[in-house]
């Protein structure tokens, strides 16, 4: 008779995980988007901030977002293991144990929230804690395995960084940061479903009720189009509110029209092969689109800041 169960063997195993594996737990690609959107949220209000305070706040927000990614990978290791896209993640591949991922996520969550509170203010820290809670508990533990609206509602977690960053700098939640939140929130469904529509069998095997699995790909394509129809004009709103320049407005309008064009392509695709190709295109473009919008906000605010300093 064996004295230890499989789970206990996993507990007793001596780790061979390197720093690179722990860094992978932070979902670096998601983190890069968080850094950019948080930076835009920090810059969209014309409030001067000490560069070091701004930098450390941004670091804390990024680490907090990464920590929620680690908690997600701890909880979702069972479903990550059966899906092609996620099977090589550190926990399902066995490089990092589930306990290590949990401890890493909890420690980084605590450090990032406390650091943001001490360095910036406690409103920002509370919002960061809420973001981590929303992603790790509300989305990962509850919504993801329960409803096809999982990534719609859960998208709020990914959309919060500009609000957290704005609160870190201004001490309040501004209308401009809420608009940035809305842009990412509405962007998430067409972005994520463009990926999910090609992974129906993966999600089916994992038992995740993604929209294409539950309502079918035709309905999903229609909803993707609806969200993109809201997203394209919403992207221009920062310029209409006077929080971004006319140049931003033009770029947002043109790139938004491009996104809408690709969403129409996905919606009208006559057969699965054309649809798969159109979805792949929309997925790639959606990432570029969001980087472009927030990148332009960051660049034009940096330029005006430099001009003010030089004047």
């Amino acid at each position: 008779m064996s004295l230890v169960t499989g789970h206990e063997v996993d507990d007793l195993r001596i780790s061979v995980a390197g720093p690179k594996d722990f860094f992978a737990l932070l979902k670096p690609s998601v983190m890069s988007l968080v850094i950019l959107t948080a930076l835009a949220g920090m810059m969209i209000e014309p409030v001067p901030v000490h560069p070091l305070i701004g930098f450390v706040s941004l670091l804390a927000i990024s680490v907090g977002a990464g920590a929620s990614g680690a908690l997600n990978m701890w909880y979702d290791a069972d479903i990550d293991a059966v899906m092609g896209r996620t099977a090589s993640r550190p926990v399902p591949s066995g490089r990092v144990t589930a306990q290590e991922a949990l401890a890493f996520g909890l420690i980084l969550s605590t450090i990032s929230v406390l650091t943001l509170g001490l360095v910036a203010n406690w409103l920002a820290a509370a919002l960061l804690a809420f973001t981590i809670f929303f992603y790790a508990v509300v989305y990962t533990m509850w919504l993801k395995r329960w409803t096809p609206q999982n990534i719609v509602i859960g998208g709020a977690a990914g959309a919060l960084p500009p609000i957290v960053a704005c609160a870190a700098v201004t001490g309040s939640v501004s209308l401009a940061s809420l608009v940035l939140f809305a842009i990412i929130f509405v962007w998430t469904p067409p972005h994520f479903w463009a990926l999910a529509i090609g992974k129906v069998s993966d999600y089916g095997r994992a038992g995740i009720p993604m929209m294409p699995n539950v309502k079918g790909e035709k309905h999903t394509r229609f909803e993707m189009l609806l969200y993109t129809m809201v997203l394209a004009p919403l992207g221009v709103v920062p310029a209409l509110l006077g929080q971004a320049s006319f140049v931003y407005g033009v770029i947002a309008a043109v790139s938004g029209a491009g996104m809408l064009w690709l969403a129409v392509d996905v919606w009208r695709a006559p057969d699965p092969a054309v649809m798969a190709k159109a979805c792949k295109k929309l997925f790639g473009y959606s990432i570029l689109y969001l980087f472009l919008l927030f990148g332009v906000i960051v660049i034009e605010n940096t330029v005006s800041l430099l001009l003010r300093v030089l004047a």
Binding site: I14, S15, V16, G18, P19, F22, L52, I53, T115, V119
Partner: protein, 55 residues
């Protein structure tokens, strides 16, 4: 006093020892960075007031 010999306890494989060392260095660097950050932020937050303290 008990004498320890080479066979006592867990002996790490070279791979385990190497990854542990790499993890320890990473933790050390992270803690060091935190110390530097909190020192620098303290200086920035106190500002010129750092020189005005009651004797």
């Amino acid at each position: 006093m008990t004498e320890h010999n080479d066979t006592d306890g867990v002996r790490l494989t070279p791979e385990q020892a190497k990854s542990r060392r790499a993890r320890n260095i990473a933790i050390g660097l992270a803690v060091g960075l935190l110390v530097v950050i909190f020192y620098a932020v303290t200086i920035v937050k106190l500002g010129p007031g750092i020189l005005h303290r009651p004797m």
